[in-house]
């Protein structure tokens, strides 16, 4: 097959890149400390040497029955992966390597132990992937299978591709922007950027100098616009040409501009479907679709959450999903919105949380500004709590599937799940809740190599018991 060999030299570049990225926080730390500047000279050299050693010590070979990978500089490791065990192949390819047919290959095995699940070949030629496909039990490239006389249209069962407008909306509605904004403010403060900018704007807005607010507003707006552009660029690079294709029982997700990524998901591995909507996307009527899969134990405690559709109009989502997955509902399942009592209970919980923090702080300081700062917290608690109560509800949408919805931090999440994927179900209630005829529903689902316990709280007892009864009597 393939004799023992090193990765394509490009892997060296990738390794160096990773090392630099990992050590960047340390470098930044030294920058801020403004000491030990010699680090600037020594560190890159050390990193490059280490990358070379790592590259030299990494070899792979393909025998008749298995893939053997040797790795490790100090602690050597040899992995044997029989072709039969390969469950999934992920491909990533930089656009400038396409003519050479070199790509990054991530081999998923079915192993349950940590560190056993995944092997990454940073840079190998197409040939490797084709050989692995040919030999594995679940061929991912159906073009390799003996061709049956089938028409082109029938072969491609369904395809969904994202347009530019949707990607732009996805970038704009990304709440990361808030965090980044704060980060920029903190950084610019530290580097004295604010002083420089206000000095520059001094000359421009000389006559409104005493309105200190104006230059600051200008700067803030510039920062926000800048962040939006940066986010848009990031999203475009990562999700350009996002396409989902279904063929038989396999979903293929392709995306990327500079670095193309291809992911194959067997429909059998899907445990549940999440249709999520943060508050920004809700305003535009958009949702995100994500899947929970059974793991191949990848990294230690990771959930295996795959984004099936980054953003799609909420009017289209169910009809599009139906093309890919047979068991999703034809249209949005009717889930009752929570009543005022449910909302009140969540608001009450949020206020208790705020109250505890407030009392703790009050021990140290309870002057005028304390009460001023408390107001927005209370308002936020009420809004968050009411939103969560409004969007908590459960329903069954066909004989074997549930639609469960709740919210967290102004993001609502509808979960579609079938009886067979539910590991166990519980109903609980405090004594007070028993009196007020409320109950919680808890559904355990697998995600990655963890279990997700989904809780739907403070729902009317009758609704919860109906679903619980269905679960116990299902045949």
């Amino acid at each position: 097959m393939i004799n023992k060999q090193h990765l394509h030299p490009f892997a060296l570049l990738i390794k160096v890149g990773f090392l630099f990225r990992d050590f960047l926080p340390a470098v930044l730390g030294f920058v801020f400390l403004r000491q030990y500047w010699q680090i600037w000279l020594i560190l890159p050299v050390v990193l490059i040497l280490w990358a070379c050693l790592d590259y030299y010590c990494f070899t792979y070979e393909m025998t008749d029955k298995e893939l053997i990978v040797n790795s490790g500089v100090i602690i050597k490791q040899q992995r044997h992966i029989p072709y039969q065990q390969i469950q999934n192949l992920q491909r990533r390819q930089w656009f400038f390597l396409e003519p050479f047919g070199v790509e990054t290959l991530i081999v998923d095995t079915g192993a349950k132990e940590k560190d056993q699940g995944e092997v990454t070949l940073l840079a190998v030629s197409n040939v490797v992937r084709m050989l692995l496909d040919f030999n594995s039990s679940e061929p991912t490239d159906l073009a390799q299978l003996p061709a049956e006389p089938v028409e082109e249209e029938v072969k491609k069962a369904a395809e969904y591709k994202i347009g530019f407008k949707e990607l732009a909306l996805y970038a704009m509605t990304n709440p990361d922007i808030l965090g980044q904004f704060l980060f920029v403010l903190v950084i610019s403060n530290h580097l004295g950027l604010m002083d420089i900018l206000s000095n520059a704007s001094d000359t421009v807005v000389d006559h409104v100098n005493h309105y200190g607010l104006v230059p600051i507003l200008i700067v803030l707006n510039v920062i926000i616009l800048g962040l939006m552009v940066v986010n848009l660029a990031r999203v475009l690079l990562r999700l350009y040409g996002f396409t989902v294709i279904r063929q038989d029982n396999l979903l293929t997700v392709k995306r990327g501009l500079i670095q193309k990524s291809i992911l194959h998901v067997s429909i059998n591995r899907i445990q549940s479907i999440h249709i999520r909507q943060n508050i920004f996307r809700q305003i535009f009527g958009l949702v995100t679709v994500e899947l929970d899969l059974i793991a191949d134990a990848t990294k230690s405690d990771e959930q295996k959450r795959v984004t099936l559709i980054p953003v799609i109009s909420q009017d289209k989502v169910y009809s599009v999903l139906k093309e890919f997955l047979d068991y999703t509902p034809e249209q949005a399942p009717t889930i009752k919105t929570g009543d005022w009592y449910t909302s009140w209970l969540f608001v009450r919980n949020a206020l208790v949380g705020v109250g505890i923090v407030a009392m703790a702080v009050a021990i140290f300081y309870h002057g005028f500004w304390y009460w001023i700062a408390l107001m927005p917290l209370i308002i936020l608690a009420i809004i968050f709590g009411w939103y969560k109560g409004y969007y908590t509800g459960i329903n069954r949408y066909d004989d074997g599937h549930l639609a469960l919805r709740t919210a967290r931090q102004l993001t609502n999440d509808t979960v579609l799940i079938g009886w067979h994927e539910i590991q166990s179900m519980s109903v609980d209630a405090s004594l007070l809740m028993v009196w007020t005829k409320r109950a919680n529903l808890i559904v355990s689902v697998r995600s990655g190599n963890q279990v997700l316990r989904l809780r739907y709280r403070y729902l009317p007892t009758q609704e919860v018991e109906d679903i619980f009864k269905w679960y116990r009597e299902y045949v």
Binding site: Q423, S424, S426, D428, A429, S430, V451
Partner: protein, 155 residues
């Protein structure tokens, strides 16, 4: 549905006593600290703590029969059901086909009464039955594992 063995009530009683002792020890440590190192620690907490500990102790004792009455479990051909809790009630259902393992454990208190804690493990979630006699535990384990194996063979 079956109840836990009666001897669990004795265990709960002992646990309540242990809680009370621990609370009193904490109180003792607090008094000691106040006396020896930090005289500025307030006094008002002490009476409050003593009263609270005694109240909790009495309430826990009074609740034992209720806890016992509410705690039940059942093994059906299709699922395992567990019902527990008085102030916080939980009713769980685990389809037999999802059960992967049934574990038996014994802490020092349980060992004293020859009882075992059962854990029914599924693909991810774990459900416990607080205490069963050795015989009950083995019966349950055999029953559940046999049914689980059959269910998987059928599938």
């Amino acid at each position: 549905m079956q109840h836990l063995p009666k001897s669990i009530k004795r265990i709960w009683f002992m646990m309540s006593i242990i809680h009370l002792i621990v609370n009193l020890l904490i109180l003792g440590a607090y008094l000691l600290a106040q006396h020896l190192w930090w005289p500025w620690l307030p006094d008002w907490g002490i009476v409050f703590w003593v009263v609270l500990s005694l109240v909790i102790f009495v309430v826990e004792l009074a609740l034992i029969p209720y806890r016992y009455a509410v705690y039940q479990y059942a093994v059906y051909p299709t699922e395992v059901e567990i019902k527990k809790g008085f102030f916080w009630r939980r009713f769980s259902a685990i389809p037999i086909a999802r059960v992967q393992n049934v574990d038996l454990q014994q802490g020092p208190l349980l060992r004293f009464q020859q009882l075992y804690r059962i854990t029914v493990a599924t693909g991810g979630s774990n459900h416990t039955i607080e205490a069963l006699s050795h015989e009950q535990a083995l019966t349950l384990k055999d029953q559940v594992m046999t049914l689980a194996r059959e269910a998987r063979n059928d599938q």
